[in-house]
Subunit: 333 residues, 2 copies
Amino acid sequence: MNGLKKLINHPEQVVEEMIEGILLAHPGRFERIEKTTVLTRKSTVQLNKVGLVSGGGSGHEPAHVGYVGEGMLDAAVFGEVFTSPTPDQILEAIKAVDYGKGVLLIIKNYTGDVMNFEMAQELAEAEGIQVEKVIVADDVAVEDSTFTIGRRGIAGTVLVHRIAGAMAETGATLQEVKEAAEKVINNVRSMGMAISACTVPAAGKPSFQLADDEMEIGIGIHGEPGINRTKIQSSKEVASILVNKILADFNYENSEVAVLINGLGATPEMELYILNKEVQRILTEKNVAIYKTWVGEYMTSLEMSGVSVTLLKLDNQMKELFAQKVNTLTFQE
Amino acid sequence: MNGLKKLINHPEQVVEEMIEGILLAHPGRFERIEKTTVLTRKSTVQLNKVGLVSGGGSGHEPAHVGYVGEGMLDAAVFGEVFTSPTPDQILEAIKAVDYGKGVLLIIKNYTGDVMNFEMAQELAEAEGIQVEKVIVADDVAVEDSTFTIGRRGIAGTVLVHRIAGAMAETGATLQEVKEAAEKVINNVRSMGMAISACTVPAAGKPSFQLADDEMEIGIGIHGEPGINRTKIQSSKEVASILVNKILADFNYENSEVAVLINGLGATPEMELYILNKEVQRILTEKNVAIYKTWVGEYMTSLEMSGVSVTLLKLDNQMKELFAQKVNTLTFQE
C-alpha cells in the first residue's frame, strides 16, 4: 500500500522497477549497463557509426527508451521522475556507445538536463571521446519557464532522434549527424495544452490543479504553467489555438510538413484522432502540405490529460531519412 | 464548448470525427466503405485468403482499427461508444472482405455484439457468402455481467486476431482459420482492475465512482462492476490478485505462455512495466515459462485508469504463427 492512486509499489523505486519490467518484457532488445539506469541498443553486429545518446527525467515514456534501436538512439539514460540523470550515468552511456566515430547528445532544453549532459560531455572528452551535443527547444508556448532558460524541449525531440538516428545509420560523420539534428531543431515547433494534471509519485500530490471546467494552454511536460487558463473549449478551438501559435512563430506556408499529434498520457486515442482531423483541416486551409502524420503517445507526462501538436518543415533529405528502416519499441517502419 | 472535460467537438459525433482523423493520419492504409463506419485493409495485391472481421463499440482504441492490416484483420466495424455496430454495417464489412474463401467473425462476448454479428452472418449467408464466427470470452472475473451472458471478451481478443490473422495469411481454409482462433480462445484468460472510471461522451458523467483510496478488481472494459472494491493496493498485490485468479481458472503451470499487460487508457507506461515485473516474477515462481510479452494499450476503455493481464498457453503452431509478419498500426513485427 503506497497511499497514492497509482499502480506502484514504492514511490522511491518506480524508475528501478520500471527498468526491470522493461528488460523482462523485451529480452534481446536492450543491454543494461551494470549499476546504472542506462539502457543501450543490443546489436548482433559490430556497429560502426556515430553513437546517439538521449534521456532525461523519467515519466515521459515511451521517451526515451522507446526510441533506442536501429535507426534511432543507441542509449537512453533514465533520471528519477521529472529529474535529470546525473553526469556519471550519462558518461557511462557515452562510453558504451562510442563505436569509434564519436557520440552525439540530444538534450531537451531544461536547465538540469543541459547542465548534467554538458558535464558528462566534458568528462567524456577528458577520456578522449569525441562528443557533440544539440539542444532541442521546440515549445513555442513560453520563452522561459520554471525549469528552463529559453524555450522548453518537448515532443519535437522525437523527430530529432529519428532524423539524427537515420543519418547516423548511413555511416555519416559526427559533424554530419549533428547538422542533420540541427536542421530538425531549426525547423520544428510544438505546443501543448492540458485538461488535468499528473502526480509525481514521490511528491504525492498533483503538480497543479485545474477546475472541472478548465484547461491550461501552453503547459509544459512537467506541468509547468503555460500561457493562460481558460474554460474548456472544443477540439476545433484547441487545434486553432495550438496551430496558430505555432504558425505565428515559424512560416510553414507552402511547405511540406510532418505532423506529430502527441498524447500526454491519459488522453484517449479517440480524442487524439479528432484533434488530428482539426489540425489537418487548418493546415490545409493555410496551404501547408502534410507529408506524414503520427498520432499517439510519444512524449508523455505520467497520467496528465492533454496533447501537444508538433510541426516539422521537411526537405528532400529529411524525407529520405524518414523513409529509412527504424526498429525501436515505439517506431517500426 | 461541449460541457465535458474531453477534447472533443460534439458528444454525438466522436466516432465519425475519429474515423476521419484516422483516415487523414494514415492515407493508404485503409479503405472506408462509403456511408458506413467500416474500415478495411487496403492491399496493393488481390487477396486470396479468408477475410477476418472484428469490431464492436468504439472507445476501446486501438481496438479494433489498430489490428487491421497484413497478418491480422481485414475489416474493423466501429459502433457508437461502448455500443455494438448494427447488423447492416457488419454485413457491409463481410461483403467487402469476402475474397472467395469465406469470412470469419471474431466477436467479443457482449449480448449486443453477439446478436448483431449473428444477424449480419445470417444476412451474408442469405447472399451466398460462407461465414463462420468465434466468440471470445477470456475474462475470468465474473461468469455473467451487466452486458453479458457468460464471460466477457476483453484484451485476449487481440491475440485471437493475431493468430487467426496469421493463419489466414497462410492461405488456410475458413475451417482451419476458425480452429486456430478457437484454440486461442480455449487457452487464453484475462482479468482486469481499475483505479478510476471513464466517461462516455454522450452520457456526460463517469460510469461509476471510486473514492480516492479505492480500486475495483475484476472490472469490465465498459466499467461494469467487478468482483470487489478494496482499498488501493501495491502493484505486487494487484499482480498477485489478477494472476492467481487466472491460474485458479486455467492450469498454465509447466507451459509456455504469451503475456499481455494491457493499459485501460490512462495508466502510465511506467506503471504497466512495474506491473509486468511483478506478473513475471509470480509466473516464474509458478513454473510458467514466458515466451513473449506485450506491454501497452491494446484494449482500452476511454480514459479509464487500470490494467488487465492476459495469459495465453502456446503450442508450436501458435509460436510459428506469432513469428509471421504483421503490419498494422499497433503491431509491426
